[in-house]
Amino acid sequence: MKQYVKDFAIVVSAVSSVAIVLALFGGFPLFSAVIALVGLSLIVAQRLKALQQDSAESVSPIQATQSDNEQIKTSLQEVTTALADTSSEAVNDLTKVISTQEDAVDTLTAAFGRFSQLSHQQQQVIEDLITFGDNHEISYIDKIHDFAVQTGKTIDTFIEVTTFTSTSLNALTEQVNKITAEMPEVVKALHDIDQIASQTNLLALNAAIEAARAGEAGRGFAVVADEVRALSNRSSTFSESIQRKLAEINRQVDAINVSVHKIADQDFSFVEDIKQHTHQVLDEILAKSEQDAKNANSLNALAQELEQAINSAIRGLQFGDINGQHLIYIKKILDFTSNGLKRCHASGTHQMLSNYQNFVADLSQLRQQTNNPVSSSSMSSGSVELF
């Protein structure tokens, strides 16, 4: 009797171990059922221990052996059936978990894949927006900055030239005024020349008269007097011609004077207004381009952060593959346990014991032969080795 009880105790211990294994491998849904089975196994084990003590003090060992044997056998079969059924249910549950997990991870992966693709496209559009050239080597921001700086310089040069022109016009006006002021002096001098010519003419006339009075002796002098008169007339003619030319020049100078005054009288203060306004706008453009450059840098930084976040998501999402392999391994062990326990039932006690021992040995062998393919226990990046 004692030997039988010991053997059953070993078997119950094995069943308890299987139940504990299930508790360790099984997920949350299995936990309660497995705990109940562990409890049931422990109760049977306690009962066996009590029977061991009772049998030691028993008065009628044969009767006790038959009765206890049946009781233990029934209890064990109940435990085995319950464990097999629970394992079977666990396998079904795991199949559903694996399926839903795969579905969820596939959906999430597709979403993140699309997200990654859109992020790359967005980055491309931003690059197109802020750069140009065959290789996006030129920045619009730099170009606008250069344009603004160059335009500022051009405006400054234009204003300098305009101011210089205005100042020069004033000087020109003064010079024209001086010329105009000189004109009456020249005209007066020409009148003096006219007067001299007239007096010379009169003097020549008197000389001619005196020459005539002198007769033959004054003939030569009469010729000289005629020449002097001719010179006097030519002087008058030149003087008139010069006066006409001077009158024309005077008219032209007046016209220039009017024109120069018109230009010089223009209000050049608008140039200063243009300068101030243009520089204000250019400063705004420069400030905007600097802000755009900062924004472009921020966009680049954001794009990098986004890429890192997507990379982290991709790394994290691999739990689907990793846990899937865990679950498939657990499912295999549970499946084996369920089928193995079902095969343990037998009508004869010896056969039943043998079945249990075989099952425990097979389970042990399976666990030795089948390794869990997953080695990582966190979602941090795995090692990389190039041979």
């Binding site: 596939d106 693709q117 990379n311 994290g316 080695s375 990046s381 990389v384 190039l386």
Partner: protein, 121 residues
């Protein structure tokens, strides 16, 4: 011309993740769900780089590497294992089979791209 990469894994999500990572950097990718499907593809096409899982139905990664190394066209093509297996014995088997490198899942996309860039020269 963009480099072509064959991605071999029985997990749909891993294939998608690896493809998204590599395509983002301009690589051309083709996928296979197991070693046998990959081997069939390699009979008709020369890829520049093969990235394969170990545990797959029909044909595992080590067997795929051994078969590819028998083919003249794939004697020097880089083949990197991407797997959950991290044991030294498995790595030794991979090296003996002709693997170029060994990456343990989960992979980091940046590291995967670094490996691709390195083995593709």
């Amino acid at each position: 011309m963009a480099k072509s990469i064959l991605v071999v894994d029985d997990s749909v999500s891993i294939r998608q993740m690896v493809e998204a990572t590599l395509k983002g950097k301009g690589y051309m990718t083709t996928t296979a769900a197991d070693g046998q499907a990959a081997l069939d593809l390699c009979q008709n096409q020369k890829f520049d780089f093969v990235l394969t899982d170990q545990n797959m139905p029909r044909m595992d990664g080590l067997s795929l590497i051994k078969s590819l190394r028998q083919m003249a066209a794939y004697r020097t093509v880089p083949i990197v294992m991407l797997t959950t297996e991290a044991g030294d014995d498995m790595k030794a088997k991979g090296r003996a089979a002709g693997a170029t490198g060994w990456m343990v899942k989960p992979f980091d996309p940046t590291k995967l791209l670094e490996v691709a860039a390195k083995v593709l020269g």
